[in-house]
Symmetry: D2
Subunit: 339 residues, 4 copies
């Protein structure tokens, strides 16, 4: 069988995470081209993945003109997702698009429509759904282990701010989009319902210099959601988070509770003269979700080869975008927003 | 030194918790009288604590007429707290009053005023503050261990509903008062600030028969608060909670995070042919906060003996009542409420 | 009911632990006398427990001549236990004796015989048996939760060396007696069997200056035991242990495993810029077994009042002494010793 | 670069573990042949890894006659390891050999000698050394985090017995070899020393029918070792272990303690009406050490490509064989054995 040829669209941190996975752990696929407007980054990954000079691109229009491949993995800034997806889909290229799917629901709809029309796969990068713990939890909830869900809580705290372009909330949807799209998806996925009403508060506590230029910028926030099935959601967001990377969920049901995730990186424990029990902490999403990224990317390739519907669809991406937009509106207006 | 003579005002579950503590673990005090409108309960505790027949009362007015003592421990329904406190204080009796302090801020003010005027101790039953873990955490926060607090989360889930009188939210403030006063106090205490704005949602998911009679009754809720110093609070409430008793806090600061409490009852762990790791779970507040109740009651007696200001004051009780009232208003109106 | 009058025989660290328990948490008993050859220590505790000058003693013979009481709590050095027990028992005084019970089996037999003859209670201080976790584990094992025990492991590591008199192994049985009597008792108790064969190794790794004077002194050791029912025991001993106090057991059975105890002091967890998960560690046996000491001392008083056989008997003490003696013999000879 | 061609020698459980790793996660290698005396097993894996019919073998001599490859991965029964290694090495084939390396030290020496002479890589399958937790712990110890090691404890309990051929201790070295080679290696590796003296006890508690035919068979054992640098080792062995797979180490040093490994499979936690805290348990070495196997196999291929000395050598394998042989001798003779 020929390998699925993949073009990395974006050669930043997330591009490299997917690149490493494709290079080492997806035998049915091969990286055959790299694109980034920052050509140095593109070259860097190209060298790492043994891709020839002529398959490195800094203009997106060139990618599809001069390279041949079957799928793209989009990790560029959010505002580019819709455009790149549309161009690629029209050429029958399958699309894996990192979260957030896009800036607006309208963009999401356009992406969904074109991919459906062109009959290409569109998968959104909610890798938590491929994590062993998260997927086990989802199954437990569906099997009734904790009864009917009442409250879903999701923690999303990350060490590093997204790029400067994301500081302007109006054009990027801010941290709730860039950092907490996963949490909005988790609440929706684990509650098996859609957002009905969202109340959010936010403030800028650690980033006063960013606040000078972008007065609406916030670095911590909480979100209180009511889902259509009356499940309550609670999300908290902190980024930059000085102590590490923290992604955990807690689901309270009518008959029990379920905790997903941990801040422990590995099981080593030490005690020393400092008279403390010390354990290594999760510092990066790359390590925390390493296996999930492998499962996610293998799933995408499997969907392409076998013509399957992906486990995470454009609709999933769109619903999260809509919820994030509502949360930002709530922050600005100080009242709950109906969806 | 003569022992401080204590009258138990209320001989239900909470009365017995304090009674046991005074009987076994507060050498400077002695229980000398018991009151309960349910005389059978009063007799039961009287026998347990070796109190003579003539010191058992079913009318509160009789207690002060026929018995002599130095202090009362009030564990009767919330709507009685103000009246009993006022009667006792006028006779120079010191008052330990369980949470919630009262139904309204006005009542709280009356209790505070009379106790101040009569120069008697008024301590409110937020025993979490006397728990080793909670007080250690408070110290850590104050020492700057996690920087400035950004978000304080508090979980308050209990196995058993309060008495029937508390199902009528209008007259009792409902579960947010009876079960979650502790959480409202924790958010305030750990954030070192006062409530500014509260948004809450609630529903009745498990108690449809109660809902018939009391349409406003809720058994699960979430609260999103903004404190005056801009710290965010998140509280969730579930009662009855089928899996046990769950009281935990999490404080995210500018430089770290801190977790308080656990659902583990003791450190025993078993693994069997069921292929699961199993640990005993906290089932009751009585056991979870056993040592805290001892510390709390010893503190009250110490304040009486040495004329100290209690660590938990009428003002602490009042602020929590006001926050609970605002949360219930938010539930009814669907909007955030300013305090 | 009159209170049981207790004389503290020994006013050192262990004497104070029991003294505090009796003073604060055993309402049916009262401390009425204190003895210690170091009179300053005796006076210190006497003041703490509000005992009058005339009830402080520095000669053991004076204690029984000039004071009246019902029971003694022996916490003096091990080599005194037999003598004090015999003198007290002959005067119908009940005896609580800290571990190790004595230096030799012969002494243990004398203590058992005299107490039986004089019909007084003799309880040995294996407080682990009164710990909630240990006793829960014992019940689980007996209920067949993990099948038949195969291997019992016990960790006994303590921060502080016993007194100088205990450095001479020949006259004290050394750390295996002073620190690890609890472990020898746990293996025996949890396996429900008696020692058959013991192999032990030991060395002095941290205390070279003690080794100058006492060449047989060891500060770390391991013990491999075979019980009469073929259960295997594994004990490890480290003292002084720089990181804290560590008392844990692990029981592997035919159908499962069970872990008892933990190095966590309380449930607080913090993560900071140090990028580590940090928890407070157990530093002292006093805090780790605080509740167990209360239960142990209440049990002793209950046995006196109600004429019950104590849960931990002279025979339990004796069997542990015999096992420790065999382990020390194995260390010296380099071969396993049959009991 | 051409891929390193690998022949799987053995198509049982361990063969499949390595096969899956090579197939999915080692891009620089390709499985090109499979051998097993049980041809059905060989065919099964061949189909899974898309290997053609003509590259499936049931006679070892045929493998080297009819197939061309660069390396073999030996997972056949222990008594075949020496022979296969020698045949392969003479044809300049690199050898990865699962533990135990062989039955006797003499065999180990022959394997080491031939591989050295033929200048081929010989790597032994102690995958724990490639586990993130174990290797982190090793580094911590070397950095002095817990001072000098005093005691190294290793738990090795597995759910499934090795093949029937391993029940005859004399010809297989039994469970201490098949199950606990890892523990013997861990004690040696973590103590940075060689075995000096070993005392072991063993019994057959659950497998009476095996005991009929093989009276020396044991299914649980403990090992007490003294290393040349006076570190003490404690190993316990249980197999079959009904509750799951359990591989943990604990290292006590002069200044602290370090725990490696856990029985938790993932971080999900549930509490239900059963009133217990429940976590998924590690059930299989395949899952527990999944990432370690990937790192181990990538390391082997890296050593071949870049001519490096493997991190786990024939000498490591030999030292463990010698220690296991001594432990079995100790079990039989009832005394400690000097190495």
């Amino acid at each position: 069988m020929d390998k699925i040829r993949v073009c990395l669209v974006g050669a930043g941190r997330a591009g490299e995470v997917h690149g490493d996975v494709y290079f080492l752990s997806v035998p049915d696929a091969a990286i055959t081209a790299v694109f980034d407007t920052d050509i140095a980054k593109a070259k860097n990954l190209a060298e790492k993945y043994q891709i020839s000079e002529k398959s490195i691109f800094e203009k997106f229009e060139d990618v599809l003109s001069y390279a041949t491949f079957d799928a793209i993995v989009i990790t560029t800034p959010t505002f580019t997702h819709c455009q790149y997806t549309k161009i690629a889909a029209r050429q029958k290229i399958h699309v894996f698009c990192e979260k957030p799917m896009a800036i607006t629901e309208k963009e999401c709809n356009e992406m969904i429509d074109i991919c459906r029309k062109e009959n290409v796969i569109l998968q959104i990068g909610f890798m938590r759904r491929f994590d062993a713990g998260f997927s086990q939890a989802k199954q437990m909830i569906e099997s009734g282990e904790i009864g009917e869900p009442l409250i879903v809580k999701s923690v999303g705290r990350g060490p590093g701010l997204p790029g400067r372009w994301a500081f302007d909330i109006k054009n990027s949807n801010g941290n709730l989009a860039e950092v907490n799209s996963h949490d909005f998806d988790s609440v929706r996925w684990l509650s098996s319902s859609e957002y009905k009403k969202i109340y959010a508060v936010a403030k800028n506590s650690k980033s006063s210099e960013i606040g000078m230029e972008y007065p609406l910028f916030y670095d911590n926030a909480t979100v209180s959601a009511t889902m259509k099935n009356e499940v309550f959601g609670l999300i908290d967001s902190v980024c930059p988070c000085d102590y590490g990377y923290d992604a955990r969920c807690e689901v309270v049901g009518t008959m029990g509770v379920l905790f997903i995730g941990s801040i422990r990186e590995c099981t080593t424990v030490t005690c020393t003269r400092k008279k403390q029990i010390v354990m290594p902490q999760v510092l990066s999403w790359k390590k925390r979700f390493h296996d999930a990224y492998i499962a996610e990317d293998r799933h995408f390739i499997d969907c392409i080869i076998n013509g399957k519907e992906p486990g995470v669809t454009g609709d999933d991406g769109k619903k999260t975008v809509a919820a994030v937009v509502a949360a930002n509106e709530s922050i600005l207006k100080g009242i709950p927003i109906e969806l």
